[in-house]
Amino acid sequence: MKNSFSQSMAWLHTWAGLIVGWLLFVIFVGGTIACFDAELDRWMRPGTAAQAPARPAVERVIDALQKEQGDAHAWYVYLPTQRFPALKGGAYHDDGRYEVHAYDAATGARLQDTAGGEFFFTLHYNLHAGTIGMYLVGLAGMMMLVAIVTGVVVHKRIFKDLFLFRFRAGGQRAWLDGHNLTGVLGLPFHLMIAYTGVAIFVASYMPAGLRTGYGGDAEKFYQEVAPSPHRQEMHRPPPSRAPLWPMIEDARRRLRADPWLVSVEHPADASTIVGVGLDHSRHVAWNWRTAYYDGVTGASLGESPPPGAAYHTYNFLGGLHMVQFGGMAFRWLYFALGLSGCAMLACGMQVWVEKRAKQVAAAGALSGYGLVRALNVGVVAGLPFAAVSMLWANRWLPADVAGRGDWEIRTFCIAWPLAAIWAIARLRRGKPWRDLFAATSMLMIGLPFVSMFVAERGALPRTLADGDWRMAMVDSTLLALGIGFAWLARRAASAAARKESETASAASEPA
């Protein structure tokens, strides 16, 4: 049975990997960029002050929320942190909408809107497609689990070939070694990321536990797992609103840590409750410890209890995935490992094409092979191009244009299909991989220079002079990635040239 088991698993690895590879690539790119979502959020608002005062203007944010989103289901105020030294105020509406804006921490003045790093985070977990997107991402994640386990099972020489990378061999050998290198050496990370990723939305992906244990009563489950004070709505507006800052200070004493997230439940009702919670940087596991207060009187309503063992495990798995813990070092390591995951996916799909090179060359554009080649170039070369185009839009759009964030997203949504369609059209005659990688490289390298003219406060000369290395880091990373894409463009050019000469010599041989 052994032979056929390996062959079945090899077949499964190939097809599970291919079918979901493009989707996973989008998810991986979104997630890798989202490692620095807060830093990107700040970079995309270049007017943000580098330091927040010890006493940020939370009341101004509450006033703005009251005026603009007074009928929301809940308000959320995010206090300034090192990663994002400004205030954020958002509201969650009953129709599922979530609207958030940033405010200067000292004055409470509204900062320019942007799709922000949040855009890539949302792209990552639901492809900006709501509930259906979330389920699609879950399916992709579970297929990734299958691809990982089958990949290990069929890799017979996994230990012997651990350090092998025949880079100069070119062609299928190099691609396969690249896929094995990033796949095997990054295996602990990829397995962890895939499993924790699907585990985060387990309540949506596997409702069997809820059905069996609670008869489907999700509210009861959430209350047992993470109890919080609940009050019936009184159906009348609050007579007054207790000031937030004393609550924040009280929470700081109770929880013995600096608060980060302030939530206001049912702000338009007299039953409103304020919750003051912490950020997730101190522990690997997500930290949901919250101090609760009556929104009208400011009286304390107690604290959340410590999580049970299983809930703590869930928080640990989720926290491991989202790397909000520790400092920059962890985010950088996840970023690098995320890039290796993107490389693993891209190399894997390229292996599929190379292994069938003869059939691919013989097939027409309107075939399964043609579709794979088109998706490969459209997704792997097109997505980075679209992402950096969006950042260019962020720099060029005037600060006061309405719906600024939407325009940035529109740029992304137009740049990607445009680049993809152009690349697919050039597949037969041109060198679309080289061209798209080169264009991406130029956009990435150009961006820090453009910033010097249109966003002087956030550009490299200023940030380096001020010692604002977090902001400088984004521009520096763009430069480094730009150089990386230039290298990819060169490789793509020489690979395409090699293929051209191969087909030319094959054609000139007597049939």
């Binding site: 012997k160 880079f167 990370f189 070092a329 290796s340």
Partner: protein, 109 residues
């Protein structure tokens, strides 16, 4: 910061040693096949270095962050080692041997 630089260096040293314990890679790096004793020595040095890296991470960052840092360094360290080793097997030996030094020096000061 310096602790994890040291741990990263130990990881690189460990992977280098483990790869040199393999006849094929030893041949590429040293120009000759290893005998049994050399293989065992490389393997033991490699494992010890990786374990030491775990100890340094955990000592510096605690039992919660330390193992996560170590696991990440293992993955990245292995990738870096393979890329360097493939670029130049002979010179890469020095990278492997000297990798723990910068971190160690910074820790000592």
């Amino acid at each position: 910061m310096n602790a994890w630089l040291f741990a990263a260096g130990l990881t690189l040293f460990g992977w280098a040693a483990l790869s040199h314990a393999m006849p094929r890679h030893h041949q590429e790096a040293f120009g000759r096949a290893p005998d049994g004793m050399r293989r065992r020595a490389h393997r033991i040095a490699g494992w010890l270095a990786l374990i030491a890296s775990f100890a340094v991470c955990t000592a510096a960052m605690g039992r919660e962050f330390g193992p996560v840092m170590w696991a990440a360094l293992l993955c990245i360290g292995a990738m870096v080692w393979v890329l360097c080793r493939n670029a130049d097997p002979r010179r890469a030996r020095w990278l492997g041997w000297l990798a723990p030094l910068p971190g160690l020096v910074l820790l000592a000061i």
